[in-house]
Symmetry: none
Amino acid sequence: MVVTEATTTKSRLLEAAGQEFAQKGYDAASIRKICDRVGANCAAVNYHFGSKEQLYLEALLEAHRCGTQVIPEEFLLQGTPAEQLARFIHHFLKNVVALAQKNTWHHTLMLREMIQPTVALETLVREAIRPKFERLLGILRRACPDVDDRRLHALAFSVIGQCLHYRTAGEVNRRLIGEDAYESLDLEFLSHHISGFCLAALGLAPPLVQSHTVSSSDVKA
Amino acid sequence: MVVTEATTTKSRLLEAAGQEFAQKGYDAASIRKICDRVGANCAAVNYHFGSKEQLYLEALLEAHRCGTQVIPEEFLLQGTPAEQLARFIHHFLKNVVALAQKNTWHHTLMLREMIQPTVALETLVREAIRPKFERLLGILRRACPDVDDRRLHALAFSVIGQCLHYRTAGEVNRRLIGEDAYESLDLEFLSHHISGFCLAALGLAPPLVQSHTVSSSDVKA
Amino acid sequence: MVVTEATTTKSRLLEAAGQEFAQKGYDAASIRKICDRVGANCAAVNYHFGSKEQLYLEALLEAHRCGTQVIPEEFLLQGTPAEQLARFIHHFLKNVVALAQKNTWHHTLMLREMIQPTVALETLVREAIRPKFERLLGILRRACPDVDDRRLHALAFSVIGQCLHYRTAGEVNRRLIGEDAYESLDLEFLSHHISGFCLAALGLAPPLVQSHTVSSSDVKA
Amino acid sequence: MVVTEATTTKSRLLEAAGQEFAQKGYDAASIRKICDRVGANCAAVNYHFGSKEQLYLEALLEAHRCGTQVIPEEFLLQGTPAEQLARFIHHFLKNVVALAQKNTWHHTLMLREMIQPTVALETLVREAIRPKFERLLGILRRACPDVDDRRLHALAFSVIGQCLHYRTAGEVNRRLIGEDAYESLDLEFLSHHISGFCLAALGLAPPLVQSHTVSSSDVKA
DNA sequence: AATGAATGAGCCTTCATTCAT
DNA sequence: GATGAATGAAGGCTCATTCAT
């Protein structure tokens, strides 16, 4: 297919829509602004996508398509389960969280959908999120073979929750501890921290910090 | 005007606004609908609050006011640091997370603001979030006296991130593991799980699960 | 009458209304802003004056009351008709036109009413404008005894038109010839100019300027 | 859409806007009413013109376009300076003043802008008013070659002021001297009167009237 | 394939006014 | 004598959408 401009109008609309939706949210985004951005008529969205809602849905699917192709395939499964978990955390942080500075709207959009679901969430979960989640479950299952599903799920959420928190609550975190302190929490450090935190919790590594007392009576399990 | 209803028009507006904003977000919420809900004229919001933005801000402050007065004061500081942390997690989960099913809009609204900040975030952080955060930092500092600030912050975020994840990503989680499985993750279980996870990571309790690369010992999983 | 504040609320409202109406015009003026200015409730106008229209009317009458008391009484009628006319022009310019820099709203308001009449114009003309106009007619009649009424009226309008032009078209004039040039047209100069212009036209003074040719054939009368 | 009416929707909107603005002023005019007048949707103005302010500005420019194209070009510059001035006054009166009774809104709108300027005044002065003003200055300069700029400006304003007065203060004038007397001041008479008044002042014609302090001579009043 | 014109619904806001106190 | 509360109407404007071309 020959493209006259940089790309086809439809795909440029999709790109602009992704940025706009990611930046302002579904309601505050305006299809006229999106069309203006790519120099198209304000009826272009309805012509190409049928409606604002359909445009949003396709932008979301595009986000998942572009956001998931960066996953390293078999590379993740090398080494011990502990190494696999550390690697998973590193890549999750890198891709989903640390991407904030890049102007890729893909993860931002998916995150928005997670927090404020629409009908598109079902598809998103099925096609983009579950595969990664299953991979994490696999790693955890190998790391802790004797654990039941309930615990397994909780473990997975503990891993993911720690990572995502830097994305969902980034602005709050920044204000809580100050700009400089927050910037010092770079990918390198956080990756090690969360890996260490989780592995220690699973008994796959020594405790993260030297605590002043370690007696089993501290915790009523 | 005789106050026939339970409260004044202004406070009823605030309540309705909180629900509407929490449910639909700032942009999608309409002040006309809010006024309709309480049987007031559509100009009532502008009369009592000046603008939609001011109304939002006041609803947010109200949310923080109602959401933070339930904090148990000195009760949190009893026992060992490990016990304090466990108690903190329990209350945090209970207040912030488990309230999702109740129709209190307060925490939903605050969460929205955290994720998609407006100018109101500054105030919210200062008055509602930082006090709790400092309390957590205190507990962690007592639990790990030899830790520097960077690690301390990361630890705090690990604790909070695990808890908040059930709120921010609740709908995704539910779809990932199924309705029933997600419901089984009740307050009781999650509270113990996260406490155990964190205390083990800090070396204040044995590892959460019996891992295959570690000598099976004393942990009741 | 004892006044608690500077003056009574009603009179302060009138003063504020005069300023607001003069500055913005009837439609753009807002009774709420007027009430705010004097620290009164927004219902105060309706309480004291009945309606916005009534307030405007009373402000207009107040304007005429204050604007006409500055007329020098018998002083104007001394000397020859030519001297009287010059004196009339001087005072007219001084009071009605040159007052722009002072913050007296009175003449501005009356001017507005002249240009965009409401029902109040009738009263204004009868009580404020006609007396002055009749005085001018008297002067002109004494200056030109053999003139019929039609010509007399046209003469009067020629005098007034020249003066008022600096008020009605002030902003245009300023832009036409530049800020500095317009400022150089001060009261002193304009008063002499218009007087000279009119007296020359009436044959009561030599022509204003030395023209290059004076032959009666120039004008087809 | 098939253009069933004589012109396009946009130009019909402009026409209606001109009438509405001229009649009621900027503030009191409503774009809804303007749209209703031409049978268009209330969003039509914003679609075609962007905003009420822009519509006003374009109406003003249209007014100037229609109001200035009637100027006779070289015809004005024939004959002596005195004849030129008389001809200028005649056309100025005819175009600007005598049109009041016709329902052309163009000059009314421009006058409104002169008296109560907005940001559009700058453009209006530059494109519509200054050219005419310069033409008048040219005539006066030729008539009075030895006059400095300050006097020249004052002379021009004296000419214009006398003419415009019948427009700006028309309603007041009518009430001052009565309906019949005012109607007798027709274009023919006023044109001669003002020409004679000005030319006499400039020494280009004998005084307008036979004054009692001047030797009765040759003037046919 | 794509667009310019136009629309109807809804937005937030401001208005002058009313009324019970 | 004066005001706070509340209202209905209208304001200008933006929206997503439609339709003939």
